[in-house]
C-alpha cells in the first residue's frame, strides 16, 4: 500500500515536472496571465468600482458571485459539523 502511494506521488510529481517546462518564468511581466484578463481590473478599478484596492474590487464586485459561493461553503461546513456531531452528544446523555 505504502509503495503504491509512493509510486502515485512520484508519478504525479513527474507529470507536474513535465508540465512545468513550458510554464512562464517566475515574475515574468509578459506571461499570459499578466496580459490577458487581469490588466482591465487594475486599469479600470477606480473608474468602474471606485476602489483603489484591486483585490477588493475583484473579490467584492467583478467576481462577487464566487464570494457568495465562498460564504456558502463556510455556512455548509458549519451546519455540516453540527449535523455530524449532534446525535452523538444526544446518545451519550
Amino acid at each position: 500500500m505504502r509503495v503504491l502511494a509512493l509510486l502515485t506521488v512520484i508519478l504525479t510529481g513527474i507529470l507536474l515536472f513535465f508540465g512545468t517546462q513550458d510554464m512562464p518564468n517566475w515574475a515574468d511581466p509578459n506571461s499570459p496571465a499578466s496580459i490577458h484578463v487581469s490588466p482591465r481590473y487594475i486599469e479600470k478599478t477606480l473608474e468602474e468600482t471606485a476602489t483603489p484596492n484591486v483585490v477588493t474590487s475583484v473579490l467584492a464586485d467583478y467576481r462577487s458571485y464566487d464570494t457568495l459561493g465562498e460564504t456558502t461553503v463556510i455556512f455548509t461546513a458549519g451546519v455540516a459539523c453540527m449535523l455530524i456531531l449532534r446525535i452523538r452528544r444526544r446518545r451519550r446523555e
Binding site: L15, L16, F18, G19, T20, Q21, D22, M23, P24, S31, P32, A33, S34, I35, H36, V37, S38, R40, Y41, D61, Y62, R63, S64, Y65, D66, G69, E70, T72, V73, F75, T76, A77, V79, A80, C81, M82, L83, I84, R86, I87, R90
Partner: protein
C-alpha cells in the same frame, strides 16, 4: 431581457437553506414543507430554463452584469438545461420521499439535515449551470462538503466511509483546481467560452496537456470511474437511505456532465481524439468499469452494496459513450444520464422503503416481499428490467444507442462488453427477484406461514416517489425518440 431563471434555480435552494434553520428552531415540522417549496420552485425554474433554451437558444447570464472574461457568466445550452431538469426533478422526488425515512433514521437532526440537503442540491445545480472554471470549483466544494456530512450521519460504518470519500473527493477537487491553475497560467482566462477560443493555439503546450490530465483524474474521482471508484461502494452503502437515493443518481451524473463539458466545450473534440488518445483510454476504462461493476455486484449479499456496484457499472456506460466519440455514442451517453438517474433513483428508493418496513437488506432475507410490498416490488422489477435493457423501459434505448455507437466506431470489443454486461445484469437481478418472489418449497407445502403474511406496503409519502420514478422509467422509454429530437441532438457537440 435575459431570463432570470438560470440564477434563480441555484439561489432559491440556497436562500431556503438559510431559512430552514430559524424556521426549524421554531417548529421542527416546517423544514420538510420548506424543502418541498424550495425544490418545487427550483424545478419550475429549471423547466423554464429548458423551455427558453429550446425556443431561443443558448442563454448567457452575466452575474453582476460584468461581461464574460472579467466577470462570471452562466451559460445554459441544451446539455446544461437537460441535466438541470434531471437534477432538480430527482432531488424534488427524493425530498418528497425523505419525510418518513428521515424521521425514522435521524430523528434528532431533521433541521440540519434539510439545511444540508438543500445546500447539496444548490451545489449540484451550481456546478451544472456555470460557465466559469473557478466558479465550478466553488460549487463543487459546496456539493462535496454537504455530501461528506450527509454520508457521515448514516449507520455504523458511515463516518469511516465518509472519511475515505473525503480524502478521495479532496484529491479530486485539488486536482481540478490545479488543472484550473495550469490553464490560467497558460491562457490568463477562467471563462470556458474564452478558453475554448484561446486554447487551440496552445494544444502543443505541455502545460495544457498536464492541465487536461489533472482535469480527467479529478473529475474521474468525483464521478467514480473505475479504477477511481474505491470510495463509492462503502459510502453509498452506509449512508442514510434518503442520502443514497439523492447522491447515487446525481453526484456521479453531474461528474459525468463536467467531464463532457471539459472534453468537448473547453477543449475541442479533436484535442481529445487526435492529439492525445484520451477517448480511447476512456473507452477501455469504461469497459473495465462495466464488467468490474457487474462482476463485483454478483459477489454481494447486501442489496444496497450490490446497487452501489451496479452504479459503478452504470457510470461506465456513460463514460463508454463519451469514449466512443461519435454522434450515436454521445447521444447514448447523454440519454443514459437521464435514464440512469431514474433507474438508480427507483432502485435506491425501493431499498430504502424495504429497510424502512423490515430493517433488512440482505438479499436472502427478502422472502415474501412481493406479497408484503406488492407495489414496491413491482417498481423494483421494472427498474431491474430497465437496467438489464429490455424494451420499452428507458434503459434499452440508451444501450441501443451505445451499441450503435460502438458499431459505428467498429469497436467490436465494446459491443461484446455491452452485451455481456446485460447478461450479467440478468443473473444479478434474477437472483434478487427469485428470493423476493419465489417461495421456498417446504414452507409452501406447510401452508401455515402464508396466512401470517399481510400487506405492509410502504407509506404513501414513500410509495408515490417510487411510483413516479418507475413511471419515469416507462415514460422516458416511450418518449426517448422525442427527447432525442428536441434536446439531445442539440446537446451533442456540433462537430460530431
Amino acid at each position: 431581457m435575459t431570463p432570470q431563471s438560470p440564477v434563480l434555480l441555484v439561489v432559491i435552494p440556497l436562500i431556503f437553506a438559510f431559512l430552514t434553520l430559524p424556521f426549524g428552531w421554531w417548529r421542527k415540522g416546517l423544514c420538510y414543507p420548506i424543502t418541498l417549496v424550495a425544490l418545487s420552485l427550483s424545478f419550475l425554474a429549471s423547466l423554464h430554463t429548458l423551455h427558453t433554451v429550446i425556443t431561443t437558444g443558448t442563454i448567457h447570464y452575466w452575474l453582476g452584469n460584468w461581461e464574460p472574461p472579467w466577470g462570471i457568466e452562466y451559460v445554459v445550452d441544451h446539455l446544461n438545461a437537460f441535466v438541470l431538469v434531471i437534477v432538480s426533478f430527482v432531488s424534488l422526488v427524493v425530498a418528497i420521499y425523505s419525510k418518513r425515512s428521515v424521521e425514522q433514521e435521524l430523528p434528532e437532526k431533521i433541521v440540519f439535515f434539510y439545511c444540508v440537503f438543500l445546500l447539496q442540491v444548490a451545489g449540484l445545480l451550481g456546478i451544472v449551470v456555470t460557465g466559469d472554471m473557478f466558479n465550478l470549483y466553488v460549487f463543487l466544494e459546496i456539493a462535496s462538503l454537504a455530501g461528506y456530512a450527509l454520508i457521515a450521519i448514516g449507520e455504523d460504518g458511515a463516518p469511516f466511509a465518509s472519511f475515505n470519500y473525503l480524502i478521495f473527493g479532496t484529491i479530486g477537487a485539488c486536482f481540478y483546481l490545479l488543472g484550473v491553475g495550469y490553464l490560467y497560467v497558460s491562457t490568463g482566462s477562467l471563462n470556458m467560452a474564452d478558453l475554448f477560443q484561446i486554447l487551440p493555439d496552445l494544444y502543443q503546450s505541455k502545460v495544457v496537456l498536464v492541465a487536461f490530465a489533472f482535469f480527467m483524474v479529478g473529475v474521474g474521482l468525483k464521478m467514480a470511474l473505475f479504477p477511481l471508484h474505491v470510495w463509492l461502494p462503502d459510502a453509498y452503502t452506509y449512508a442514510p437511505s434518503t442520502v443514497s437515493a439523492l447522491l447515487a443518481p446525481l453526484m456521479t451524473k453531474v461528474g459525468a456532465y463536467v467531464m463532457i463539458r471539459i472534453m468537448f466545450t473547453v477543449f475541442k473534440p479533436q484535442f481529445c481524439i487526435e492529439l492525445i488518445p484520451v477517448t480511447t483510454i476512456l473507452g477501455w476504462m469504461a469497459a473495465g468499469a462495466i464488467l468490474f461493476g457487474a462482476v463485483m455486484a454478483l459477489a454481494q449479499t447486501d442489496l444496497k452494496r450490490m446497487l452501489a456496484y451496479i452504479l459503478v457499472s452504470e457510470v461506465g456506460y456513460i463514460a463508454l459513450g463519451v469514449g466512443l466519440a461519435n454522434r450515436a455514442g454521445l447521444t447514448g451517453a447523454i440519454l443514459h444520464i437521464l435514464n440512469d438517474s431514474f433507474m438508480m433513483l427507483a432502485l435506491f428508493l425501493v431499498v430504502g422503503a424495504i429497510m424502512y418496513r423490515s430493517g433488512k437488506r440482505e438479499i436472502s432475507q427478502l422472502r415474501y416481499l412481493h406479497r408484503r410490498m406488492p407495489f414496491t416490488m413491482a417498481a423494483f422489477v421494472i427498474a431491474a428490467l430497465s437496467v438489464i435493457g429490455i424494451p420499452p423501459t428507458c434503459g434499452f434505448f440508451s444501450k441501443w444507442y451505445l451499441i450503435l455507437g460502438a458499431i459505428d466506431a467498429s469497436q467490436w470489443a465494446f459491443v461484446a462488453v455491452l452485451l455481456v454486461s446485460s447478461l450479467l445484469n440478468v443473473i444479478l437481478f434474477f437472483r434478487v427477484i427469485e428470493h423476493a418472489y419465489l417461495e421456498p418449497d417446504e414452507e409452501h407445502a406447510g401452508g401455515g406461514s402464508e396466512l401470517a403474511i399481510t400487506i405492509e406496503e410502504a407509506p404513501l409519502s414513500m410509495l408515490v416517489p417510487i411510483l413516479i420514478a418507475t413511471a419515469g422509467i416507462m415514460v422516458f422509454g416511450v418518449l426517448s425518440g422525442k427527447i432525442i429530437s428536441t434536446v439531445i441532438q442539440f446537446a451533442v457537440p456540433k462537430c460530431f
